[in-house]
């Protein structure tokens, strides 16, 4: 072969490699997930999506990840667990995403686990309670700060505060909806009751679409419990709080695991009915000083949320949805690759600096220390939203690092 031909072929080869390489580099870095954009938890799902979109824009403004633009590929899982497997199969097989994260909530994270385990994907998840307890998957991560034993970490605030009361409570009533999250939360509550030596005088669950909750609350009252622990989702949280106020529940402490009171819709609808209730929160203006970057993020989020008709406060999922993407961002930058094994390894071994503070994962992928705040609502008057945007409606009772006050008991006398 003459020299010219050799040079020609070499040049062609080099050109093609260069073109392919640059084409690869232009390919966006796709992150895929299902999210509840319709259905009972859609208010939260949409709020989370907005945060993730803000993150993608922030990252792309700084040049993307590994030189590639970040693109979010998502589908509506309708808050319906049965859609989840097909969504994730589609993301991995058809859309060929580089990375996956979960949707919102225990109910939609669990169905995705078998697929993740089959494909050895690193799976960062958003607010699922104790999902990994049955799977024991070593590439599962959870951004919710429930701690290494989530069901216990979730409930320890309520029970620790209860047992610090004097005289000590003797009895507890446990109630929740027939669904994945409440069932797991109640498991944790049962264990806490056992450890604290409390007698469980009522332990029943109700169908999530119950219309009238007053028979349930009356049945609970008939057992005269010192404590009432409720684990519920937004519609039944509202129904139970209403029923509790209508029946005039008398107990020393009520609340514990209600999803829904963290965001605007239920706060404005229930207003003063929330007074006196003890519950958990992810963020509240009372602790703003401890999370310096959160204010700017929340301002950005609140502006977009108002336009899209989604939770205008953003105190629950949005900071954590953003933080979970920050963890992934830092892991990808540090390892310089999208290799699922390397990422999982890095995430297990390192601490991350995020908008919600320092994040470190335990062996099972949960947070190494529990950090969900236990709070008590007070002084809520009327149904306007602005009172919630500044400190004054929420007393943080635990953990100690964030505490702003002590609990007011009994419940029926603390409703102001």
């Amino acid at each position: 072969m003459n020299t010219l031909k050799i040079w020609l072929w070499a040049g062609l080869a080099a050109l093609s490699i260069a073109l392919i390489a640059s084409a690869e580099a232009q390919q966006p870095l796709k992150i895929g997930f299902g999210m509840s954009l319709t259905g009972p938890l859609a208010g939260n799902g949409k709020a989370a999506l907005i945060s993730m979109q803000i993150w993608a824009e922030d990252v792309n403004a700084k040049g993307g990840l590994l030189g590639r633009k970040v693109e979010l590929v998502y589908y509506d899982d309708q808050t319906n667990p049965s859609t989840v497997p097909s969504i994730y199969n589609k993301l991995l097989d058809v859309d060929k995403v580089d990375l996956v994260v979960s949707g919102y909530g225990t109910n939609v994270i669990a169905p995705a686990m078998p697929i993740m385990m089959q494909r050895n994907m690193t799976f960062m998840s958003l607010f699922g309670l104790n999902v990994n307890s049955k799977f024991n998957y070593d590439r599962y991560f959870q951004i919710m700060p429930a701690g290494p034993e989530p069901a216990l970490g979730w409930t320890e605030g309520f029970f620790n505060i209860a047992m610090s009361l004097s005289p000590k409570p003797q009895t507890v009533a446990l109630v929740g909806a027939d669904a994945e999250y409440p069932a797991l939360a109640l498991e944790g509550a049962r264990e806490q009751a056992k450890r604290a030596g409390l007698k469980v005088v009522y332990d029943k669950s109700y169908p999530p679409n119950t219309v009238d909750f007053s028979p349930i609350v009356r049945a609970i009252q008939a057992t005269n419990p010192d404590l009432v622990f409720l684990a519920s989702y937004p519609p039944d949280s509202a129904g139970m709080v209403r029923a509790v106020n209508e029946v005039g529940l008398k107990t020393r402490m009520f609340g514990g695991g209600l999803v829904g009171t963290q965001f605007a819709a239920l706060r404005t609808q229930l207003g003063p009915l929330l007074n006196g209730m003890v519950n958990y929160e992810a963020y509240t203006p009372e602790v703003a000083a401890q999370f310096p970057f959160l204010e700017q993020f929340l301002a950005k989020y609140q502006e977009r949320a108002a336009k899209e008709g989604v939770d205008p406060l953003g105190y629950y999922l949005p900071p954590y949805a953003y933080a979970m993407m920050q963890v992934l961002e830092q892991a990808i930058k540090a390892t310089g690759s999208l290799d699922q094994g390397k990422l999982a390894d890095y995430m297990h071994k390192n601490e991350f600096d995020t908008y919600v503070g320092k994040v470190r994962f335990a062996k099972n992928g949960e947070w190494s220390i529990p950090r969900m705040m236990t709070v008590q609502y007070h002084s809520v008057s009327g149904n306007d939203l602005d009172q919630w945007k500044k400190p004054g409606r929420v007393t943080v009772l635990a953990p100690a690092a964030y505490k702003t006050g002590t609990v007011m008991v009994p419940y029926q006398d603390s409703k102001k």
Binding site: T38, K46, D178, V211, D212, R218, P235, E246
Partner: protein, 291 residues
């Protein structure tokens, strides 16, 4: 198992109040499915539309949602007429009402849900009326006005419908069309017109029931589907074509749910309710007051 008096009395009252609400959401199906044989599976969707309309007008000018729904019921009536016209022309006239008609109503159910979703978004809506947080106490029994007011209006609506169907000429024409359309034609009455107006009436009741719903519990576009099973169960239990039966069926299911929730465990409530339905149908296949 203990049955303290206070608890039993409260369970009865709660069951009856709930039953009143169930009657309101089901009476429309009793007319459309029970009497006209139209499987209007989209009925709950119209209830939700009624909820949202009551919600917006209440937010806008502060008028009580139930008053709003009664005021806009002519709109629902007109919508019902239009819907029946389309259903008749496309399906019933050609004898294809069973499968294709059902698919049509399923389609309406989903389209309505998605339109509500697009217009209002996914968040739960609830109204706070002047009586939402008031509870009357008579001795040991509680009467939360949030349930009492819808109950009273619902009873007026259901009893009014029963009187209308039994006593007026048009009402009897509706009962007649359920029995023998040909005979009705021979009497010089257009059965299609009768069915159209009856169906419109059923959709109007859905609009009013929607206001009850949003006063009682938070509403979002997808919850209509949770009521499909209930409304047909109440209608079938009570007996097809009987408004009184629907009322009785609603009370039975309301009481069953209330007693099960209070004394045995709320998880069992749906099982007991549908168990009662099965038992009733086993012994009385035409329903409690069915013909």
């Amino acid at each position: 198992m203990e049955f303290p008096t206070a608890l039993v009395l409260n369970a009865i009252v709660a069951g009856l109040l709930l039953g009143g609400f169930y009657a309101a959401v089901s009476v429309g199906i009793s007319i459309s499915f029970g009497m006209l044989d139209v499987v209007n599976i989209a009925h709950p969707a119209f209830i939700i539309v009624g909820s949202y309309i009551a919600y917006i007008v209440h937010e806008w000018i502060g008028v009580d949602p139930i008053v709003v729904s009664i005021a806009v019921s002519p709109l629902f009536f007109a919508l019902g007429m239009l819907l029946y016209r389309i259903y008749y022309l496309c399906f019933e006239r050609r004898g294809q009402e069973s499968l294709r008609g059902l698919a049509f109503f399923f389609g309406i159910l989903f389209i309505t849900e998605v339109v509500l979703l697009l217009v209002f978004g996914v968040d739960y809506r609830l109204v706070e009326t002047s009586y939402s947080s008031t509870t009357l106490r008579l001795g040991v029994v509680d009467f939360p006005l949030r349930l009492v007011v819808p109950f009273v209006v619902s009873m007026a609506m259901v009893v009014g419908l029963q009187v209308f169907l039994a006593r007026t000429f048009f009402g009897r024409a509706v009962l007649a069309v359920a029995q023998d359309q040909l005979a009705l034609r021979l009497m010089g009455i257009n059965p299609i017109r009768v069915k159209e107006l009856a169906f419109a009436l059923s959709i109007a009741t859905a609009g009013v029931a929607g206001a009850f719903l949003i006063v009682i519990q938070p509403v979002q576009p997808a919850i209509g589907r949770e009521y499909i099973g209930l409304v047909f169960a109440v209608c079938v239990l009570g007996g097809m074509g009987s408004i009184g039966g629907t009322l009785l069926g609603a009370f039975v299911l309301g009481l069953a749910e209330s007693f099960t929730s209070t004394f045995f465990g709320p998880s069992w409530a749906p099982a007991i309710s549908f168990g009662i339905l099965l038992a009733a149908l086993a012994f009385r296949p035409s329903g409690l007051l069915g013909r």
